[in-house]
Symmetry: C2
Subunit: 297 residues, 2 copies
């Protein structure tokens, strides 16, 4: 194993986690910067990496972001609600500021890549990583390559059906009944009410949440045919009862339509993340390693 | 262009279309055999190819079918309702009977590959082909490779929401509200009633059908991020009003969430098949060509 140092950025809407590590996924140091405007935040990050001797950098960024090298906007943040970041050439400024090859992907593709390279999906080729937190995002690996296509997956916004009587408004500004709008953290909080922020403490809301997530998972299984599904993010991470319920309800919805060895072992098929919250940073390390490899070809 | 002759089979539930052609997609001859039991149908097909000097064969088969070479059941038809075909080693018998390399994929992946190689999606890498007929199937190409994963996509069965007042029963034996069960040909026929089999002649059912298909397309766009969508099969093929309605309703459902050049040119984004019904056979030719190429490596 080489001793080369790789840089990693997990770029989120509220903070930027910067780290350095080895290409085997070992994280050596990390620091966090609040996500202000690019003119403030990006120089601070470049400064962090300046004396770290990194040979490449991986950037797992909030979206929408142009991650397809064939896109003329490649490396830019696109039409985000964060005005200061709209059309910002994030990758370009990092390349110029750090002087090393930079690999870029979405935050969820980064986390998926982390689990694929170092964690719960090691050795597999077709895997999805779902994060259920303030939003719902899906990272997708198909045939060993991260899915981009026209832009990148936005599968958190697939349509689902509300449970009868559930009139909590969608928290998505575009869709009245997409998975994110109905089942992400903010919608769960609306259902729990002001006096409770523990999903485990409300069996009815818990059951409903599991049903919504199972609808999403059913769609993902039928669409992507993944070999494994990793379900992470704040909501499942803090609600241990959720994963078993989601497994059961997903199988109920599929109703025997698919018969595969993977689905017969559902506890190994729908799993929690395995990298102690480091899947994003470790995925970004792998993005950096791949960028270095490509640059050396 | 080589003059090599390739064989092609489009294996459907009611008939098997066999053809020979060149690797540029030119079809030289074809014949059709009813889908009886394998012991009757397959020898007839092998006999058809016997004097055709084929150098490889492509098989685009009804599913479920094991299309992943890593699957120990590779090449077999799986748990189909057609009892005689369950667990049948379709590819193996063709390899033995024809003595040439055989490439296999699903019928819809075959059609998708046909459009990708010779038709409406030429030059693209991330494309889906939807067929709406007696069932709904989705062929998926990601990064230039057909999607298989755990099994293969079964995206015709993604969940959608019924329109208020639509109480026509689902025609899917597993799901009460999947796209296929609600929007495939048999469900449309139930809505049209006994005295009409022309969807164009019933504006209300037409509008509803477009809305259902648009729900499916929205999910596919968010999940796959395709560069182009081809919408084929008997229902759209015979209903010219459907495609424009589906385009409009898909954009309405997305509600501006995605902003890409492709979506801004929606008439070039969601399109009809381009190969006069030959996309399946031509895709099978390409499957054969790829099998030959792999065998010669």
């Amino acid at each position: 194993m080489s001793d080369r140092i790789i840089g990693a950025i997990e770029a989120g809407g509220t903070k930027m986690v910067c780290a350095i590590g080895h290409e085997n996924g070992e994280v050596l140091d990390r620091a966090s910067f609040p996500t202000l405007a690019p003119a403030e935040t990006v120089p601070a990050m470049i400064d962090y990496f300046a004396d770290k001797n990194i040979e490449a950098l991986g950037l797992a960024a909030f979206g929408p972001v142009a991650v397809n090298p064939a896109d003329p906007r490649y490396g830019r943040i696109l039409n985000t609600p964060k005005i200061a970041w709209q059309n910002y050439d994030f990758m370009g400024d990092l390349v110029r500021g750090c002087g090393v090859p930079v690999g870029i992907d979405t935050d969820v593709n980064g986390a998926c890549l982390g689990e694929l390279t170092f964690g719960a999906a090691k050795g597999l080729t077709d895997v999805i990583y779902i994060t259920v937190g303030t939003g719902i995002g899906v990272g997708v690996c198909i045939g060993g390559q991260m899915l981009h296509g026209m832009l990148h997956p936005e599968a958190g916004h697939v349509l689902i059906e509300r449970a009868p009587g559930d009139d909590v408004p969608s928290t998505c500004h575009c869709h009245t009944r997409c998975l994110e709008g109905i089942a992400a953290g903010p919608a769960v909080q609306l259902r729990l009410g002001e006096n409770n922020n523990v999903l485990s403490a409300d069996p009815e809301v818990l059951e409903q949440e599991a049903g919504y997530l199972a609808q999403g998972l059913m769609t993902y299984i039928l669409a992507y045919s993944p070999q494994r599904i990793i379900l992470g993010g704040g909501v499942p991470d803090h609600t241990p009862e959720l994963l078993p319920l989601v497994r059961t309800k997903t199988l109920e919805l599929l109703n025997g339509y698919l018969s595969t060895p993977e689905l017969e072992d559902i506890d190994s098929y729908i799993v929690a993340p395995s990298l102690d919250g480091n899947q994003g940073v470790m995925g970004a390390l792998e993005l950096g390693r791949r960028a270095l490899e490509a640059a050396q070809k």
